[in-house]
Amino acid sequence: MAEHKDFRFDTLSLHAGQQPDPATGARAVPIYQTTSYVFEGVDQAAELFNLERPGHIYSRISNPTVAVLEERLAALEGGVGAVATASGQAALCLAVATLMGSGGHIVSARSIYGGSHNVFNYTFPRFGIATTFVDVRDPNAFRAAIRPETRLVFAEVLGNPGLEVLDIPVVTEVAHAHRLPLMVDATFATPYLCRPFDWGADIVMHSATKFLGGHGVAIAGILVDGGRFDWAAARGANGTPLFPTLTEPYPGYHGLVFADEYGPAAFISRARAEGLRDFGACLSPANAFYILQGIETLPVRMARHVANAEAVAAFLATHSAVSWVNHPSLSSHPDHALAKKILPKGAGAIMSFGIKGGREAGRRFIERLKVFSHLANVGDAKSLVIHPASTTHQQMDGQALKAAGVGEDLVRLSIGLEDPSDLIEDLGRALKASQKA
């Protein structure tokens, strides 16, 4: 019997989720810039609203252009389905709101994006959801922080800004031993470098604004359901269901029980049916189109991002104005061996380093850069630089900064697609200038 192989990653990047437009034959994904869709008749309308047939009703809940992006990411990640959102932050909030309500608790890695830290530490508590932050390199810390009311374990595949590599199988084992899902933010890795479901994770989120889009022109997020977590089997010590949003009748949809109705796609179905309907943080079709344009070239871009990053990291590691360099491609990185296992194609294009001379040297360095752009983003085709202590992580106090591994000398680079010689020359000139008082 001929064995089937799924289309490979590069092919899926270009084709998954799309048929040539049935109305026009358009090869490119059309931008369906519409809020709503004419019903074929009264019966068809009733069937759509009652989930008796699939289709589009209103673009807050689904849209044909956005659906191509969702299906493509689900295919690239090896999941069952996806929901695209207005931003990565919206994807994170949608996941949490789908899994828990007031009284819920999250165990999160400490070294995460500053925006995620903010929502966990300051915003969710206002809605009765608490978070315990732990050292991402300590599985026992995850285990120890889990409480009866914990509903989610969260971490980033590559930590921000420390580039800690998440040992996904180990943390998955901890979460699953307590019948909890592991959700990972895979923004820095993209599915090209790491497919977290292959290592056991249950939910993946991305800020698609970054490498997936790649061009720095659109804000977007995406939530992907791995489809393996058994929500119905997750019960507490007294037998109560841990995830009633998925396993108990939902009055907001005529008593629908998502785990019964959709099985492996229960989580992502509720995220759409309730989360997009009620919270409304949907992605616009135009932005979905921009992100799709980026994904078409994701494999070739990521390979170049990684190659450039490794060249830059090697350069910085030997520079006299640099006190340390943090990139998992370097043997000095604590997770170097783990990175080779989890991220065999490379550990991404984000890195940080310490500049000798502290804050003032950092200021001179950034001001002298000509190719690198000083801004608060990563994952652009263009190379970027930022000083986290004064920007992305500025809401953290000194203790939280230290705990998150952000020192005042830390400079973060996002390596783009320019000629690596130009990047190295630009960094060399700026580093030299930074050391002149």
Binding site: M1, A2, E3, H4, K5, D6, F7, H15, A16, G17, Q18, Q19, E47, N50, L51, E52, R53, P54, G55, H56, S62, N63, P64, V66, A67, V68, E70, E71, R72, A74, A75, G78, G79, V80, G81, A82, V83, A84, G227, R228, A232, H254, G255, L256, D260, E261, Y262, G263, P264, A265, I268, R272
Partner: protein
């Protein structure tokens, strides 16, 4: 909802409405290694159209207890016991792939209580390649690869699912993974061993529709046509550009076909 059949726990989806006796009831029977979730759209469609819907997980599948049954005849007897246990007087049997063979056999057992029969993605013979049988029994992931590669039309292979954001290959893989090394192997063996379709087809007396995807490579259209020709008065419906998983690839077309005999 959960029911008890011969002392075993049976889970059956009811299309979003609690099961009520006294109505004509559509019993949806899933294929090898699958479960009730493949019938979500159709079960909801009929449960909200003055019919009752039951999409049970066969024993050893999905959320039902017990061991997987080892022959199509045993599965058909189990369906009849299920119908008896729930005191259903008027049954419309809807089966997909392996489930279609079970429905065909069960129609004979139920006799006049079978008021309609819908066979989707079906064939008179469902011989299974020895490589696939062995891989499924051994719980090898390549069994899922083989099945998925043959199961879908264009929408399921490349994408463009009518259901927004759902990757059919991924969803199918997760269902099959749950049955690897267990029910999937015995289901495929049951299909492979079954040779009773001609006799069973000759016994059918109820309105019947045979539905196939025009691009079905698992049970090619000619096979569905051959089985339909053996059933008196059977209607046929070909769903364009559709593969073997017609009820999730083209849910509305399949619901419309079932409605012709339901």
């Amino acid at each position: 909802m959960e029911f008890s059949v011969a002392g075993s726990r049976v889970f059956a989806a009811t299309g979003g409405k609690p099961f009520e006796g006294g109505k004509r009831t559509l019993v949806f029977l899933h294929g090898a290694g699958m479960d009730h979730t493949v019938w979500s759209f159709q079960a909801r469609r009929f449960a909200h159209r003055n019919r009752a819907a039951l999409a049970p997980d066969f024993p050893g599948h999905g959320r039902s207890g017990g061991e997987a049954l080892r022959s199509i005849a045993d599965m058909a007897a189990w369906v009849a016991a299920f119908v008896d246990a729930l005191k259903i007087e008027e049954t419309v049997l809807v089966g997909h792939s392996m489930g279609s063979l079970v429905a065909l056999e069960a129609a004979g057992i139920l006799g006049a209580r079978a008021r309609g029969l819908a066979l989707i993605g079906t064939a008179a013979r469902m011989a299974v390649h020895p490589d696939l049988l062995a891989a499924a029994r051994n719980g090898e992931a390549r069994a899922a690869d083989m099945i998925l590669g043959w199961s879908f039309g264009e929408r399921g292979t490349v994408g463009g699912n009518i259901a927004p954001g759902v990757w059919m290959q991924g969803a199918g893989r997760r269902l099959l993974e749950r049955a690897l090394g267990g029910a999937l192997g015995s289901d495929l063996a049951a299909c492979d061993a079954y040779t009773g379709s001609d006799k069973a087809a000759a016994r059918v007396r109820c309105p019947t529709v045979v539905v196939w995807g025009a691009a079905d490579r698992m049970t090619p259209p000619a096979e569905g046509q051959r089985l339909a020709s053996a059933i008196a008065g059977a209607k046929t419906v070909a769903v364009p550009k559709c593969g073997h998983m017609a009820m999730i690839e083209e849910p509305a077309a399949v619901s419309a076909a079932i409605a012709e005999i339901a």
